[in-house]
Symmetry: C2
Subunit: 220 residues, 2 copies
DNA sequence: CTTTATTTTTAGCCATACCTAAAGTCAAAA
DNA sequence: TTTTGACTTTAGGTATGGCTAAAAATAAAG
């Protein structure tokens, strides 16, 4: 069964909102995620229910099915592989890739994705540090902590951000806190939760708790 | 102004059928090229006329405008650049690229195309030997002859094919007559126009006039 | 100069995917 | 237990882009 572009986008949103199928999702949540109206969502949910990619009970929200998860993961896989391509091969900045990847993820060709994956050397994480599902939908995830949860003198490597708005990404680029950067916690201010960190053993930056809580690190 | 995918496909078909805007094109021709019905074409022509990418007089065919040409060439440029990418980077065979490039050509991002062009080292021809328009729509074309128009002992290099059906491309692959191959005419049979040619100084193949007339060569 | 055949267009219908406005459902507060 | 308010769905409309069937225009033949 082939899904339309709109259906793929809904499924992806539902997958994310349900945190991988764990939580039930509401019509309103989907509407605000998709930036459209609840009435439009109701319509689509009926269709997705008929295609059995979600289990839909009117007025009681929905659960994504196993089939639905497979489609969602396939789309996420394509999105993230294209992001790797754009950053590594075409030298896009990581705040420029999202919009283009949103389009590229809907290209239908399993051969294309196989070849792209091989060409990129089977990457396991995208430029934002998010895991790339394999062709069976399996995801290799790493335990990650927010910077504000770390203690003084602990070290680690930045692997992902929770807020991927262009403004936030540009800010990170400016201060040099890119994905892959090695960091060390130099100081924490108990009063407001702000932290001082050393980036790549050379640059000291200061960030509010608000910023720190949006940056994810693997400790080492 | 942004064109829809359908509009881009119509413009591309019109551009090709009119041989770059030289000839006027009929509704029926477009319908058979697009594999849909004349009634659907009439509808679309009205819209394209309103957007001023064609000049449309009911019952009298149409001419593509300068603006329309720019859009068509832009789409053709994207299609051919993606074909180069698929063949050179992802190791697609040249008979596998068309369908995927048909999808990729509709991705909207001028940055993407600039970067892709640079990444591929500003190619001037696609894997079928067709010229790639530059970002201003300029095309560098080479004088080309069909193999059946060449004389005994003349030499040249295969640069394009006129029939790009998958079946024909597979046949060419089988006999080793790929784009870029150097050839020499060994013999011509006046009776049926068939020819015997030497490919890359090592392989002798025999082809009917029908096949020979579909292969284009730059003489040298 | 008609008649006929071909081509093209119009009219009206279908599906997708969005919208607004109105009606229906559920749950929490009175 | 009833009422209120938030959430959700339905009804009916819009635009795109296809279709068939029928009407209209052009061109070709008698």
């Amino acid at each position: 069964m082939e899904l339309t572009i709109a259906e793929e986008n809904y499924l992806k949103a539902i997958y994310h909102l349900s945190e991988g199928g764990k939580k039930s999702v509401s019509t309103n949540d989907i509407a605000s995620e998709m930036k459209n109206k609840p009435a439009s969502v109701s319509d689509m949910l009926r269709k997705l229910g008929e295609k059995e990619v979600i289990e839909y009970r009117k007025y009681y929200g929905l659960q994504i099915t196993e089939i639905g998860k497979r489609y969602a993961l396939q789309t996420i896989r394509k999105h993230r592989l294209w992001e790797v391509f754009l950053v590594e091969k075409l030298n896009f900045a990581w705040d420029e890739v999202h919009e283009v990847a949103e389009q590229l993820e809907h290209i239908h060709s399993s051969l294309l994705i196989q070849r792209l994956d091989a060409y990129l050397n089977y990457p396991k994480f995208d430029p934002h540090g998010d895991p790339i599902p394999d062709e069976f939908g399996d995801v290799r995830s790493r335990p990650r902590v927010q910077i504000n949860e770390m203690e003084i003198n602990q070290t680690g490597q930045i692997v992902a951000v929770e807020d991927s708005s262009a403004a936030f990404l540009r800010y990170l680029d400016k201060v040099g806190a890119y994905i892959g950067a090695r960091i060390k916690i130099l100081d924490k201010v108990e009063f407001d939760g702000s932290v001082e960190i050393l980036v790549d053993q050379k640059k000291t930056i200061f960030m509010s708790k608000d910023v720190a809580s949006n940056i994810l690190v693997i400790q080492s």
